[in-house]
Structure formats: structure tokens, C-alpha cells
């Protein structure tokens, strides 16, 4: 087994080298030994498969499973009537493990089978006969909100899964008094996180109905509670163990609950482990993309460029079932308002059910979708007012000490510096001919407090092992972002140790502290703070035990234990002393970080997060006026993520996030043929390849945030937020007209240039 010994510590910063920061399993990954969900095998394992609806909307008249039971090797066949089929959901409970008398999209789960191999399971599916009575379907979200529209769920009348209508200040008056009003409509399609490893899980159970699900999740503890409730199994009987995760990007926060529930039900029925896995096509057609959005936006300004008001009317496309789509819709409809000082705001947002693939979330939570709209509109205003887009942003941007329109408390903020630095880096004041330049700002909550206001913090344990090394137990998740490297570093800084002496234990709900998981940029900010506190607690316990052992006061400094009489004690001696004295216990530091409660009122006004990260990106592009072909030459990203704890991992987050932002803006997006996903493959749903990546540069403006550990703030999500706005503005600058629909394909740019579709 390779070890990481060779990698040194940077003597200047004390920060361990990249090998360590990429996480403890980096050598397993690079040698092909790392075990992912798709690699899992358990003795006696069966394979589960799902029969899916071929209809967008239909009544299920009859299901005949007799043929499936007759297939050799088949061990279980489940339909809605054979199970409890309790409703469940993340925000609204609109799903059941299997569709009952009605299917609502092409792919809806109708039956599930388990067999000794994949082939038999496939044959069993073919042997199930289902009679459907097709019903009229609705595919367009605006149409779904219409009066005579087909209804998807009786309990959500008008096809509204969630809605919001809010006003801050007096927008009506502000629009009346404005010198300039600009407006436009924007359209952003559904996108898939496109983690490279399709979701896979193995559920195993015993005769006492103890259920263990092996699957990689960003929020295993939350999923565990949902599964326990949906299956009516006591929580103590449900355990989730995580293999290595092949990418998450928000798509594995709650992953594919349906798959976990069905494999669990099949395992409980057969007593055998059951493996289920989505094919790549299923990932696109029944996995969980992020909601599409139609955004109508207006802005009111004074002649001098002062922002007065913003009004938005937003319809988001939920698909057939909801998951986190309401939360994503909320972030999408509000977060960008916090980027600038906008005193008067009116927002109407509606999340509409349609007979299409159900949705969930993606990195940046819709914030990047709305950013495309709001940052495009700011450039429209800049052009009308003949003000430089950079100056217009600098004049209005949020600054430290502000309380924003929705009540966010901005304790640290270097947005203005980020804007200036990004502009300088891209050559804003020294432009090349025939190139277009655009700039955009971004904000993202770092350490959301409102996922569960009662459980808004995080906890961690730091244990002194008998060999003098430290193990940190955490419920947070690392899938390559560098979280565990950062945690090792944080604990090491507190204890005065080398980060390589701190090991991370994770991904097992039976053992690790429970957590809200890897979302809302909370890992470093909240999880890291808990690790810091656990390490501080452990340090105190070590000093106490050492003092008792030495019979005189002992202080721990720079990793060394020194008595008042200058005698050095070894950590392993103290660990062993305590272990024997307590007949088997170990020194166990506990850290709990409970951030101040949020003053979040019924209108959603309040401070929703521990802190906020900021960024500004600038893009340089070239547009071929004859074809509309777009070349993104460079993107310069400047970030305020507080103090950067793990620079190597931060670099990976920035480049990776910028590239996903590029994909979101220029290539990606669901295409539908009525209810069917028309591009359900990696050939047709194009993500950026190595050939597409532009020149990327970045820098950090390091603020000292009072809340994050050692002043750190989140980075992983905010990095994607400003990309679409920056590129779209650069394209408008180059083309002389604006595209208001993503992705920015050559065809759309060409139409905009030739005046065919969109006006600037």
C-alpha cells in the first residue's frame, strides 16, 4: 500500500503538499484500487432492476407479474400494491417508492425485480405486463400553471409545487421614480450534474430487519432519516456506509432516493444484498437534473447608475416530482439580489409540475441560472446609461457591514476588490480588437443555517490514538474537494502537529457524528469549525491527563508536552496512561459548533447563512459573425473565500467550477421531445472536454471572516455562479446583440447577430 510520506510540508505556510490535501484515498484512486459504488460486490448479492413507464401521463389499469415470477433466478417482484408505498419527499411529500394507479413521466417506476444476475432481472422485466390508459400531459411549465391545464397531483392544485411572492421596500414607487427601466426575459434549461460515476447502491439486511445501504452520498444522515420514515423502520436499524464517490456536484446530496428505497425493499423481501445501478441513459432520463427556469426581470435605475429596484417573475420547471426543487427555486429567485445594494425588490416565483423528468439540485443551486439573467440586465442598463459595466457594478456592489435587501448580514466582503482585480486581469482597460469582454459578480451562502434551523451546526470528535496519532471522526463528506485535507490541517494547526499525523474517519452513519452533509458550502465553514473545536477540546484533555500523569502542570505547545520542570512527555505515553487508568477508554475531544440562530421571518427575511463568499469573473471571447461560433479565450476569476485553508484543493475547485460554468453557459442543457429526454447520452448532452477549456486564471482576495475556521469561507459552489453572466456579457459585447437563452450555441448567437430572435 503506497503511503504519503514522501510529500513534504511547505515550510513557509506550514501547509502540507498536494498529495495530502487531495485526501487520504488519493493513492487508491490513482492506482485503480479505490472502491466506488459501481464496484461493490457482497456475497450472495442479487441484482435489482426497475420497470418504467413508457407514458408521460397514464392511469395504470392492471399489472400482471406472473410471468416475471416464472423466470428462473428471480427472487422478488414488487409492485405498488405489494408494499406499504408510503409517500415521502424532501420538501413536499409527492413521491412513493413505486407508482400506484398513475404514472406521471416517461420513466416513472412501476415495478422492481431482484434476480441472481442482471440478465435474469432483465428477462423478468420483459415478462411483466402492464395495461395503461394514457392521459393528456403537460410539458410546458407556463402552460401547466394555466387554468385548464392537466393536473399532476391532486394535493398541489394548479400544478404549483411551491410559490413565493415577496416585496421588500416599495418597488412600485421606485419604478415610477426611475430614470431608466430595463427589462428582458431569459430562459435556462435543465442541466444534469453529470458526475462521472452513475449512482449505484447495495442494500443488505438481516432477519432482524437491520438494513445497511452502501452508497456514496453527500448527505447520508439526512437520507437515512428519510429512508427510515418511508420504510417505517426504526432509525437505529438503518445504517449508510459510503464507498468512494465518483463526483457529486449537488446531485448526490440526497442522490436517487427511489433507487435506495427499492433496493432496500428488495433486500428486506429476499434477505439478500441487492445491487441497483442507474445506466448513463437513466441518469439523464430518470436521474435528477436541476430545474429549468424562465425569468422575466426588470430593473429601475437613476441616471447616475444607482440601482433602485429589481422585479422578477420566475417560473421554474419541477418535472413530475419535487425533491429539493423548492429550495433551489428559492435560491434562484433571491440570492443574486444580495450582490448589489438594491433597496426595493419584488419577486414572484412559481415552481410548476410538468410531465417530465423529476428534478433536484446541482452545484450553485440555481444561483448561476439567475446570475445569467441579472448580470445580463445590468449590462443592458450600463449600455443605455453609457456607463462602464465595471464602474456600474462598483458603484452598487455590496460591501462588508451591509445588511442586504433580504436581510443577509455581510460580515466580510471583498466584492469590489474582486471586480477590479478580475477586470485588470482580463485586460478590461486595454482591450484587444475583435474580442468581446464581459464581467459578472457572484455571491453564495457559505454554511446555510436554514436547511434545518434546529440542527444548523456541526460536530466532530478528535481521538488520541494509543500510538500518539489523532483520528478525527466527521460526518462531512469529501469526494475530491479537499475537505478532509482541510480538516487534517485545521486539527493539526490547533494541536501543533503535522497534518499527516491526523487521520480522518468518515462515511459510516453508525460511527461518525451526524451531519447535514456536503451542501450549501457548509463543509469548511461549519464542519471545519467543529473540527477546530474538537481539536481544542482534545488538547485540553491531553493536558489534563498529562498533568495528572506527571504530577505537575503540563502545557501542550507546538505539538510537544512539556512539564513545569522541563521534562518532555510523549503523546503516546499520555494516551496509554489514560487508556490503562480508564480500563480501555481513549482521550476523546468533542467539538460542537452551533452558529447563532437565524432571524428568518415568514417572508424569508433574515440571515440565512453563517457567512457569504463572493467572486467576480471576467471573460474574453471571440465571435465569428458569419457563423455565430463562439471561442471563449480566457476567464479570470477573483474570489473572496476568506482565508484559503487548502490552496491546492482550492485550485482544483476553481478550475473545475469554472469549467462546469462554461459547460452550463455554452454547451449543456436538456432537450425534450414532448416528455421524452431527447439527449440522454454523453454524446448528445455535451459537457466540456479538454479541448474546450479556455485559458483560466484566478486569484484570491483573502478577507478575515469572523465566523469561519481561521477566517475561511466556502468556495466550491460560488465559483460556478459568475461564469454564465461573464461569458454572456462578453458575447453581447462581441456580437453587438444579446442572447437571452442558454446554452449560448452558435445558432442562437448567429440569430442574435442577424436580428432573428433576440433584441439587445
Amino acid at each position: 500500500m503506497p503511503v504519503t510520506k514522501k510529500t513534504g510540508v511547505n515550510s513557509e505556510t506550514g501547509i502540507p503538499g498536494p498529495a495530502y490535501n487531495q485526501g487520504p484515498d488519493v493513492w487508491d484512486k490513482v492506482t485503480g484500487k479505490a472502491v466506488y459504488g459501481i464496484d461493490l460486490q457482497l456475497p450472495g448479492m442479487l441484482y435489482g432492476k426497475v420497470l418504467r413507464s413508457p407514458h408521460s401521463h397514464a392511469r395504470v389499469i392492471r399489472i400482471d407479474t406472473a410471468g416475471a415470477f416464472a423466470v428462473p433466478g428471480v427472487r422478488a417482484v414488487l409492485t405498488a400494491s405489494a408494499i406499504k408505498n408510503k409517500p415521502y419527499g424532501i420538501v413536499v411529500e409527492d413521491e412513493q417508492p413505486l407508482a400506484g394507479d398513475r404514472v406521471r413521466y416517461i420513466g416513472d417506476e412501476v415495478a422492481a425485480v431482484a434476480a441472481v444476475d442482471e440478465e435474469s432481472a432483465g428477462k423478468a422485466l420483459e415478462a411483466i405486463k402492464v395495461d395503461y390508459e394514457p392521459l393528456p400531459a403537460v410539458y410546458d411549465p407556463a402552460e401547466a400553471l394555466g387554468e385548464d391545464a392537466v393536473q399532476l397531483h391532486e394535493q398541489y392544485s394548479g400544478n404549483i409545487a411551491w410559490e413565493r411572492d415577496l416585496e421588500r421596500g416599495d418597488p412600485e414607487q421606485a419604478f415610477k421614480e426611475a430614470d431608466l427601466v430595463v427589462e428582458n426575459s431569459f430562459s435556462i434549461p435543465s442541466v444534469h450534474p453529470t458526475y462521472l460515476e452513475p449512482i449505484a447502491c447495495v442494500a443488505s439486511s438481516d432477519y432482524m430487519d437491520n438494513l445497511t445501504i452502501h452508497t456514496a452520498l453527500q448527505s447520508p444522515d439526512v437520507v437515512r432519516e428519510i429512508i427510515s420514515a418511508a420504510l417505517e423502520l426504526p432509525l437505529s436499524k438503518v445504517r449508510i456506509i459510503g464507498p468512494v464517490m465518483g463526483g457529486g456536484f449537488g446531485g448526490r446530496v440526497y442522490g436517487n432516493l427511489k433507487l435506495y428505497l427499492l433496493s432496500s425493499l428488495l433486500s428486506l423481501q429476499t434477505g439478500a444484498p441487492v445491487k441497483m445501478q442507474l445506466s448513463r441513459e437513466e441518469e439523464f432520463s430518470v436521474g435528477r437534473p436541476m430545474i429549468a427556469a424562465q425569468i422575466k426581470m426588470r430593473m429601475a435605475l437613476r441616471k447616475d447608475g444607482t440601482f433602485l429596484a429589481r422585479e422578477a417573475d420566475i417560473i421554474t420547471d419541477n418535472g413530475a416530482y419535487s425533491a429539493q426543487a423548492p429550495w433551489v427555486s428559492k435560491t434562484l429567485s433571491e440570492r443574486n439580489d444580495a450582490l448589489y445594494r438594491i433597496p426595493h425588490i419584488r419577486t414572484r416565483a412559481r415552481l410548476a409540475y410538468t410531465n417530465k423528468v423529476p428534478t433536484a439540485q446541482y452545484r450553485a443551486y440555481g444561483n448561476q441560472a439567475a446570475n445569467f439573467a441579472s448580470e445580463s440586465l445590468i449590462d443592458q442598463a450600463a449600455e443605455k446609461l453609457q456607463i462602464d459595466p465595471l464602474q456600474l457594478r462598483l458603484k452598487n456592489c455590496t460591501r462588508a457591514g451591509d445588511v442586504t435587501g433580504h436581510g443577509l448580514q455581510i460580515k466580510s466582503c471583498a466584492l469590489a476588490e474582486c471586480l477590479e482585480e478580475a477586470a485588470t486581469r482580463i485586460g478590461w482597460h486595454n482591450r484587444k480588437k475583435n474580442r468581446g469582454y464581459g464581467i459578472s459578480a457572484g455571491i453564495h451562502a457559505s454554511g446555510s443555517l436554514v436547511l434545518n434551523q434546529d440542527f444548523r451546526g456541526a460536530s466532530a470528535r478528535a481521538v488520541l490514538e494509543l500510538d500518539g496519532k489523532v483520528t478525527v471522526f466527521t460526518g462531512e463528506q469529501d469526494y475530491g474537494q479537499g475537505t478532509y485535507g482541510a480538516f487534517s490541517h485545521i486539527a493539526a494547526m490547533v494541536l501543533g502537529l503535522d497534518a499527516r499525523q491526523v487521520r480522518i474517519y468518515c462515511r459510516d452513519t453508525l460511527v461518525t457524528p451526524h451531519s447535514q452533509g456536503a451542501l450549501a458550502n457548509r463543509q469548511t465553514t461549519i464542519g471545519g469549525r467543529a473540527v477546530q473545536l474538537a481539536a481544542e477540546d482534545l488538547k485540553k484533555l491531553i493536558e489534563e491527563a498529562a498533568s495528572e500523569m506527571a504530577g505537575q502542570p503540563v502545557k501542550m505547545q507546538e505539538g510537544r508536552l512539556e512539564t513545569a520542570s522541563n521534562r518532555d512527555l510523549k503523546l503516546e505515553e499520555v494516551a496509554r496512561y489514560y487508556h490503562y487508568r480508564t480500563s480501555g477508554l481513549t482521550l476523546n475531544g468533542e467539538g460542537r459548533y452551533v452558529p447563532p440562530p437565524s432571524a428568518y421571518d415568514e417572508t424569508g427575511y433574515g440571515n440565512i447563512s453563517v457567512t457569504y463568499s463572493f467572486a467576480a469573473h471576467a471573460a474574453e471571447v471571440e465571435v465569428d459573425r458569419n457563423t455565430g461560433a463562439l471561442t471563449v479565450h480566457r476567464i479570470a476569476a477573483v474570489h473572496d473565500s476568506g482565508r484559503i485553508v487548502n490552496p491546492h484543493a482550492a485550485r482544483g475547485q476553481v478550475f473545475g467550477g469554472m469549467t462546469q460554468g462554461l459547460g452550463f453557459c455554452c454547451y449543456e442543457g436538456y432537450l425534450f421531445d414532448k416528455g421524452r429526454v431527447a439527449n440522454a447520452s454523453l454524446a448528445d448532452y455535451r459537457v466540456p472536454t479538454a479541448m474546450d477549456v479556455p485559458g483560466m486564471e484566478y486569484s484570491f482576495v483573502e478577507t478575515e471572516d469572523p465566523e469561519g475556521p481561521f477566517g475561511a469561507k466556502g468556495l466550491g459552489e460560488v465559483v460556478q455562479v459568475p461564469v454564465p453572466g461573464a461569458i454572456a456579457n462578453a458575447v453581447a459585447d462581441a456580437a453587438g446583440s444579446r442572447v437571452t437563452e442558454l446554452p449560448l450555441t452558435a445558432e442562437r448567437i448567429y440569430r442574435a447577430i442577424s436580428g432573428g430572435e433576440c433584441e439587445r
Binding site: T7, A34, G246, R280, G656, T659, T689, M691, M696
Partner: protein
């Protein structure tokens, strides 16, 4: 289809297996030889995570029928690791530089990336950045933005050249 005997060489060892020749090489490697380092991301030749070398050429093993490897040499990520070990290193220089340059994040694309890079350096020991990007353009990565991977391959090329010289 009916199973038949397939004889080939895998990671320098002789192998003989009875298998349906229409199954994919990927399936054979993962299910019959337990070589799980070759990943399955799409089964359609669109993601590159299953890249292996077939007689020195980088191929998507999900698109190669098992029967087609008869008499050929297959190299997987496990074989590349062993190559490094045989030279007294923990890993191959490519793997070392992938780690050192921060080119490994979730790691799911990594084995396939290493294999494409291995094939490139075999034919072209000192590639340009453009040639590296082209060589890995069939391997998708969602975490990195490819920059660190490109740097890792260039760095490995340098290390390997120095050793030769």
C-alpha cells in the same frame, strides 16, 4: 452467444478464459479478472473511464468485444501500477505526477486518464500541451477543468525523459 476460449495477455501475464465473445472487454476485465480499476461510466464509448491499452493503443474497453482480444496484449491501470513497482517505485511516474499536480479529485476518470496519457507518452515522449489535450479529449473529467491533468502529463513526460537520458 456461445462461450468460447479466449487467450490473450493481460498486464504481462498469460490469460485464458471461457466467455461469450460478444461481451465487452470491460465486462471481462471487471467481472472475470476483478480488475475494477477500469471504470464503467457509460457503456457506450462516450466517457473514456474504461480506457485500456490494446496492443499499445488506447481504446474504450466497453466497445471492444471480448473475442477481439484473442492473441492481443491488454494493459490496465493495475498493470501500469505494477510497472512502477517493478522499477522499485511505489507507482508509475504518471501516477506520481497525477497526485503531485492535484489531478486526482473524485478519481473516477483517473485510471482512464492515466491510460490515455500512457498511450500518448509511449508514442510521443515529449508532447506539447495541445497534444496532451487532444490525447485526453475522449476522457471526460467533471472535477478538474483538465488543467491539472494536462500539467501532470507534461510533468510525467519530463520525469520519464530525464530518467531515460
Amino acid at each position: 452467444m456461445k462461450e468460447q476460449v479466449i487467450r490473450f495477455e493481460i498486464n504481462g501475464e498469460k490469460a485464458e478464459v471461457y466467455a461469450d465473445p460478444t461481451l465487452s472487454l470491460l465486462h471481462l476485465l471487471r467481472s472475470r479478472f476483478n480488475l475494477i480499476g477500469t471504470k464503467e461510466g457509460c457503456r457506450k464509448g462516450e466517457c473514456g473511464t474504461c480506457t485500456v491499452l490494446l496492443d499499445g493503443q488506447a481504446v474504450n474497453s466497453c466497445l471492444v468485444p471480448a473475442g477481439k482480444v484473442e492473441g492481443k496484449k491488454v494493459l490496465t491501470i493495475e498493470g501500469v501500477t505494477r510497472e512502477g513497482a517493478l522499477k522499485g517505485k511505489r507507482v508509475h511516474p504518471l501516477q506520481q505526477s497525477f497526485v503531485e499536480k492535484g489531478a486526482v479529485q473524485c478519481g473516477f476518470c483517473t485510471p482512464g486518464m492515466v491510460m490515455s496519457a500512457y498511450a500518448l507518452l509511449r508514442d510521443n515522449p515529449s508532447p506539447s500541451p495541445e497534444q496532451v489535450r487532444e490525447a485526453i479529449s475522449g476522457n471526460l473529467c467533471r472535477c478538474s477543468g483538465y488543467k491539472q491533468i494536462e500539467e501532470a502529463v507534461l510533468e510525467a513526460a519530463k520525469t520519464m525523459q530525464e530518467k531515460q537520458g
